[in-house]
Structures are given as structure tokens and as C-alpha cells.
Amino acid sequence: MAWSDRFHDLFAAAAANAQRAAANVEERFRDYPDTVVSQQDIKDLEHEGDRITTQVHQLLNTEFDTPFGRDDIYMLASSLDDVVDHIEHASDLLGLYRIEAPMAQSLEQCRVLVQATEALSRAIQALHQGRAVEPHLAAVSTLEDEGDQVSRLAVASLFEHEDINPRVIIQWKDIFEVLEQAVDSCERAAHLVGNIVVKSR
């Protein structure tokens, strides 16, 4: 199945923007607070995501013929937008909570997020080109499981000792939850791509 090029271009741009956001946030977390990636850099990518989503909605309003269901187009655009929104939120928490240094598990979670956005990009590309998407969807699903595990173990480590600073627990529990939401959004988008393929058969 081939899409119309205009919808494909927008979805490819949204997926690429999500990849860029994930890569930037990974770098920001890695070097924080001595990072060259500012919160404004991440915010700019979030704005770009919003702009692309708006363009998808406008195209939906003007195109009578769509390559697949309007609801599917709308939800896929929203899921891709959610990925970047959650990335921006996690990044913002670093500054809001005045994090002194990243936890090792947060760097691991960022790596998972980068790989998930890369697999999602490949899935959207494969969908446009009529190639098999299943390997890429499976990759996203595996990464989502891995992200869950990283997050669970990280939060568990915050409760290992009775006298860990309560502020640290609050800060990092929030950050891990938001990073997990970003990875979950990748999986939702991948799931939607899978639904699109099934419906088109």
C-alpha cells in the first residue's frame, strides 16, 4: 500500500522530529547540568512537532481522499506529537527540579527512547513504500518492554534504603514516569501503524 506523498511527507517529518528530540534529550541528560543542549532547543522541537500536527489536521480538512481512515491519520499524528511532548516535559523537569546529576538509569531510558523513535521512523517509511512493517513494530514493542523494565528497576532503586532523600525520590520518580510515557507513545504510534496495515488488507 502506498500513501499519498503529502501525508507521507508529514508523517516522515513528524517521526524524524521525534528522533531528533530523543537524540537531543539523550545528550541533555548525559551532560546535565553542563550540557550544550538547552531546554529551549528541546522546546523548539516540540513546537516543530505541533506545527507538523497542525498541517496534518489542515490536510485532513482539505483532502477528500485519504490513504487510510481519517481517524487513523488523526490518532497517528497525535501519538507522534505525544512522543515529543513527553520528551519536552522530561527535559523540563531537569531544570524545574534542579537536578544535580543524571541517574545512570535515566541515560539508559533515553537510549531506549532514541532506538524506539528510530524503529518508528523505519516503520513509517516501510508503510509508505509498501514494505513489511512487522519487524520494525516488533522492535518498538521490545524496546517498550525494555523501557518498562528500566523504569521499574530505577524506581525500585529509589526505595532500596529507608533514608534516601525524599526529594530525590519525588524528582526521579516523576522523570522516569514521563520518560516511560514517551516510550509508550512510540509503542502506541507503532500499534496504530500496525492497525493501518491490517485494515488495508
Binding site: 546529576a101 543524571p102 541517574m103 545512570a104 532503586s157 534504603h161 534516601i164 530525590v168
Partner: protein
């Protein structure tokens, strides 16, 4: 004693035992006589919070196993703190046991408040005496906790409060390895969560600030364990340092 030191207000924290107000009353009278700034707390974490924030010169405990373990740990981890203990009666064997365990002064409820005040204040004032008593050194690296300075050779190193505290802990260890967990507990006052990189990030910053003037002083990493200070010829290859002794602080 210099007039400036005599003018410094002694800050006393009493770790109360439940249902025993006698010690609190006696200390309160002594505090009023001496012009101490005294606080009474019910729980060790509250006392530890004050000690970690350097709001206590003297910690006074009752004679209980839990209080003694807590008090001696505070004393060990905070060299500027002095530890006093209150026993019910004077001349008992308990005073000898407490002093051997690391308590600096033992007073009894049988003493007059004035005697309690003088005995406890004496150990605090001795700790406050300036010059070499308050300074710590490791080679050319000198830390003055009271002044809040870290000097290497002739250069003062501009460190944040946390960074200064880390350097202080390493200097006190005298070249022995201090684990990350121990560094975290002594500087931040809590247990370290697994994966927390605060210690590593701060050590990296300290190294950056020391490097222009470090000369022979290096912070050496012991992989998987922690850090130690090193001075001498092998400072050029700190990663190959083979010290295996841990400070266990």
C-alpha cells in the same frame, strides 16, 4: 581564648528521650546561663538534619544504646561536632563506657547546671580553637571547614559548598579510598540510590577546578568503589594507582 571565639554562640542540639524532661530542664538552665542557642529534638533524623546543615556545635544524647550509636556516628562523620552525654548519676561506670565509645564529655543530672555548662562548653571551645586545629591538610591541599576555604599551594580554589565538603571528606580520609556511598552519605546526609551519579559529576567538576593548579595532588578513581586523594610522582597516572585500602568512613 581569643575574644572573637568567646563571642561565638555555642549551638546545642539535645536528642531527647521520651518522657524524660529532667535533662532538658537542666540543659535549658545551662543554656540560658551561657547564652547557648539550644534546640531539643525527639528523633535522630531531626538531629542529623541540623548536624548536616552545620547548625550544631554540640550534640547531647542520653545514655541509651540507640542514642550512643547515633551520636558516635555523627561524631565520626562530622569532625567539627562535639558529643556530650547525660547520665542519671555521677561517678557511675557508665561515664567510662561512654567516654571510651567516643563521647567527648559526660555530665550527670546530679550536677548543678553551672557545672554542666562549663564542662560541655569547654569541649566545644577547644574544637573552635583556630589555626591548625580546624584546618585539614593533604600535601599542599589545605581545607578550613570553619572558613569555608580550600587552598592548594598558594591558590584558593573556588568550590561550591558541596564540592568543598567532598574535598573535606577526602582529605580527612588521608589518601584512603572513600566509597561513593560513604561520600554521598557524609555530604548529602542520606543513603545513595543505585545509579545516582551526583558524586561522580561533582568529582569531575572538582577535578576541573583543581587541574590548573593541581600539581602533584590528584583525585584518583578506584573503579567500582570510590575515590581517594593522591600526591606524589604517580599522580601523573592516577588510573593505575593500586591502593586497595578503604577508609570505611
Amino acid at each position: 581564648m581569643p575574644a572573637s571565639l568567646a563571642a561565638e554562640v555555642v549551638r546545642v542540639v539535645l536528642l531527647r528521650l521520651a518522657d524524660d524532661l529532667r535533662a532538658e530542664r537542666k540543659l535549658a538552665v545551662a543554656a540560658k546561663q551561657q547564652g547557648w542557642d539550644m534546640a531539643s529534638v525527639d528523633r535522630p533524623p531531626d538531629a542529623e538534619h541540623r548536624v548536616r546543615n552545620r547548625e550544631a556545635d554540640l550534640l547531647v544524647i542520653h545514655d541509651s544504646q540507640e542514642s550512643l550509636e547515633f551520636g558516635t556516628r555523627m561524631r565520626r562523620n562530622h569532625a567539627e561536632l562535639r558529643l556530650g552525654a547525660i547520665v542519671p548519676a555521677h561517678g557511675s561506670d557508665r561515664a567510662a563506657v561512654l567516654l571510651s565509645a567516643g563521647v567527648d564529655e559526660v555530665v550527670s543530672l546530679a550536677m548543678a547546671p553551672a557545672e554542666i555548662a562549663v564542662r560541655l562548653e569547654r569541649v566545644v571551645r577547644q574544637a573552635m580553637t583556630p589555626s591548625t586545629a580546624s584546618e585539614l591538610s593533604f600535601g599542599a591541599l589545605v581545607v578550613d571547614p570553619a572558613e569555608g576555604t580550600v587552598i592548594l599551594g598558594t591558590s584558593e580554589i573556588p568550590l561550591s559548598r558541596r564540592e568543598r565538603h567532598i574535598v573535606e571528606v577526602l582529605v580527612r580520609a588521608g589518601g584512603r579510598t572513600v566509597s561513593r556511598e560513604s561520600l554521598y552519605r557524609q555530604v548529602w546526609g542520606y543513603s545513595m540510590a543505585r545509579g545516582d551519579r551526583i558524586v561522580d559529576v561533582n568529582v569531575k567538576r572538582i577535578r576541573g577546578k583543581l587541574s590548573p593548579v593541581s600539581g602533584e595532588i590528584q583525585i584518583v578513581t578506584r573503579p567500582g568503589v570510590g575515590y581517594r586523594l593522591h600526591a606524589g610522582d604517580s599522580a601523573a597516572h592516577p588510573s593505575r594507582a593500586t591502593d586497595t585500602e578503604e577508609a570505611g568512613i
